[in-house]
Symmetry: C2
Subunit: 230 residues, 2 copies
Amino acid sequence: MDVHALAFDVFGTVVDWRAGVSGEVRRLLGDRVDAPAFADAWRGRYAPSMDRVRTGELPWTPLDALHRSSLDELLAELGVPGVDEPTRAELVLAWHRLDPWPDAVAGLTRLRRRYVLAPLSNGNVALLVDVARRAGLPWDLVLGAEIVQHYKPDPEVYDSVPRLLALRPEQVLMVAAHVSDLAAARDRGLRTAYVHRPDEYGGLRTPPAADPDADLSVSSLPELADRLGA
Amino acid sequence: MDVHALAFDVFGTVVDWRAGVSGEVRRLLGDRVDAPAFADAWRGRYAPSMDRVRTGELPWTPLDALHRSSLDELLAELGVPGVDEPTRAELVLAWHRLDPWPDAVAGLTRLRRRYVLAPLSNGNVALLVDVARRAGLPWDLVLGAEIVQHYKPDPEVYDSVPRLLALRPEQVLMVAAHVSDLAAARDRGLRTAYVHRPDEYGGLRTPPAADPDADLSVSSLPELADRLGA
């Protein structure tokens, strides 16, 4: 492989959204909800909310605003009492305060010595910058959905990486813990690396140990650095 | 000022384009041209080339491609003999290998502890990433012309900073060594800081010591950090 740049999915691949969101839900809503179940239900609305943008039902809407709409719907459906406006705004910021998986910063730091690194996430730019500064993720630049006003798996998102970095598609390696993200990247000519994150769903779902269609499958970012000679 | 993010002009403000381009011209063209005069003439075609995009005469064209066209025109006009294709491609990369002013990295490193930092340059993204990695410029993200497919001073470029960082315009400080860049930023509601770079034009032009219309005028990036309490 003649790879020059690595593009990373973020939620689940680099950071642990379930623990982070559950923790903030517990802090802000206390025992009014079951925090991990609430995080799962909120995340469950993620793909459908983006699909409303992808199909044109909604105009371009950054993820923070989709998270807010999903939150309001969920609180109404569950009948959670007394969640005021400042608390709702603070809950949306839970997604800006996610911790990285324990291996992530060490792996990225090694990979960056040799490769250009960027997130390629559906998170909006402000969210990705907040997560990176708080967690110390050493990105060279921030790419992703908001830059091109399309959500993954729309092809525009994947195409933006070689276009903006002046590379050929096969010089970009997409790194993700989700086989559907990698399949969409491969469709646009990118190389792909699967990261096994068995704890992403707290045991409720069991991700495959490897992706037979990816160029590489690893169980951590330091292992990815090993495999790429970084 | 309630500033959260700093957006930097790059050529002349953070890096010394004239020394860098002259050096590469000297290395690659030897005594076939007067290297500083060639750098000045090449840079002289910069604004007119972008104006062809800004007026719609050309479709969106990244700066590397404009640099290449200007180079070809200049070599033809000067009648410089025997400059082959690989040499022309290498000359365009001179703009990817510019050194920072001696104070720049130290100033940016201090500023980044407190503020989100991004370049807001007419350079294309690949160029800005190459310059940053080589020079160690600690950007949080890369913004600028190519992200919005408009060249400064088009308002879309300045507006992209608060939009993508989810800030109000007055929470963004534009930092530049050129009063026209700052004037355009102020027109979009950004705060402005002028940096005096007396050596940008090698003594051929004398930039003003301060910009009376800017919120701040400084003579180095560490001085900017002092003034901003970073």
